[in-house]
Symmetry: C2
Subunit: 251 residues, 2 copies
């Protein structure tokens, strides 16, 4: 049985709490949060608002905003225990070295209230000590996640990459939504194309999957599209991404 | 029984041929192509390389490159028959007015050799005459596609939108692939995030689904990401899309 304490009460803390509690071999012995209010979600478990009252456990999982990680880690009233954070961008070394350190980063976008299937979430794991890696790996295996050994520097690269595939792709959808709305076309017509574009990565690299006027060097269509776009920022984005695609294919 | 002639022998012509032949109530009576060579795919049907030999049919479907549509439509040796093209960007009026005109545009990305499920492909339909719309709608219904009445101007907007959700999203995947490879991280770690990002459009508008440092106005993370990016073009894209997202959320 791996005994765990979760520090934090936000979105990710709640998702982790839910999956850990539902998993054999894992036990959440306590949830800490600075304020009592947010702790109501966790009332099937011991909760505390005082770091001094933290119970003993095999692992302390800090699931708070990046800029609060160091402060909590510094204030922990014990040493030589396994303390991990869950951030995509913070270095493992943000955790105070008085404890054994690690990172347990689930690479996915979490929506409040939407149930999460951890078997579809890759976990990026990192530890200072080899033996601790086994503990993180056991937790990942127990909840059915694929896990990867990822250094802080690699995790930083993944976090930027995630911005491209998630934040920026979603912004492409947003722009398409704006354009279709402005032309009284239902956005749902584009849903199957969005799905198919995402599905293709399972069988083709993005390099191979690329199509369209930018790749073909079809200037007539490019000009027609630029003329059709009303907003300057959309024109700018269209132009820059078209350049970048053209460059990728040696045009 | 709707009798059809397909003009063209490329990727889309082949996919249409396959689904029409498999559908009750539809009959492909002939396939035309300028050169004999490409016609081998269609040899279960009458084929011709001469427009003068075209058989009589209820509908002539031109599935060729955009810049070849007008030339074929002009040379058709008959009048007052229903002639449609299948292009996302060409106006219906590119077809010669000696015939009844229309557009039958499947909004999807077609990969050569990969079987296509037309029940998941929206069809954008347009006709000059109301009665002809019914014929296009019957064909769409017969192959199980959702169809929409879309004007040439709306179709042009959809075609630009499709570039954003397909070509540009795929390019976001490509950039993420480059970054992860440069850092020895397997790109597959990002697959679930790509899927989830695409899946979210079914439950949330892209506006509601947006997350990330640009939306939050988290300048520290933005600076960290820009520092991590090696290529100038990636920095440029990151900066422009971050600006555009910030603007969308009134920052």
């Amino acid at each position: 049985m791996i005994q765990m304490v979760i520090l934090g009460a936000g979105n990710l803390a709640q998702h982790l709490y839910t999956v850990f509690r539902a998993t054999e071999g894992l036990e959440v012995v306590q949830v800490y949060n600075r304020s009592q209010k947010a702790l109501s979600y966790f009332n099937a478990t011991n909760t505390t608002t005082s770091l001094k009252e933290l119970l003993e456990a095999d692992i302390y999982i800090i699931a708070v905003a990046d800029d609060a990680i160091a402060a909590i880690a510094n204030k922990l009233p014990f040493t030589d225990r396994l303390v991990v954070h869950t951030s995509g961008s913070a270095s493992m070394h943000m955790l105070h070295k008085k404890n054994r350190r690690g990172v347990f980063y689930p690479l996915q976008t979490f929506t409040k209230g939407v149930k999460v299937d951890f078997t579809k979430i890759p976990l990026c794991l990192e530890t200072g000590e080899k033996a601790d890696f086994k503990i993180l790996k056991s937790i990942a295996d127990a909840i059915g996640s694929n896990s990867y050994k990822i250094s802080s520097e690699q995790r930083r690269a993944l976090h930027v990459s995630a911005v491209f595939v998630n934040n920026f792709s979603n912004h492409m959808y947003r722009i398409a939504h704006e354009i279709s709305e402005a032309n009284n076309v239902p956005f749902e017509i584009l849903h199957p194309l969005i799905q198919e574009t995402a599905n293709k990565i399972h069988t083709l690299t993005p390099y191979m999957a690329q199509t369209g006027p930018a790749k073909r060097g079809d200037q007539k269509t490019i000009d027609d599209h630029l003329e059709k776009l009303d907003k300057d920022i959309h024109k700018e984005i269209y132009t820059l991404l078209t350049q970048s695609i053209a460059k990728t294919y040696g045009r």
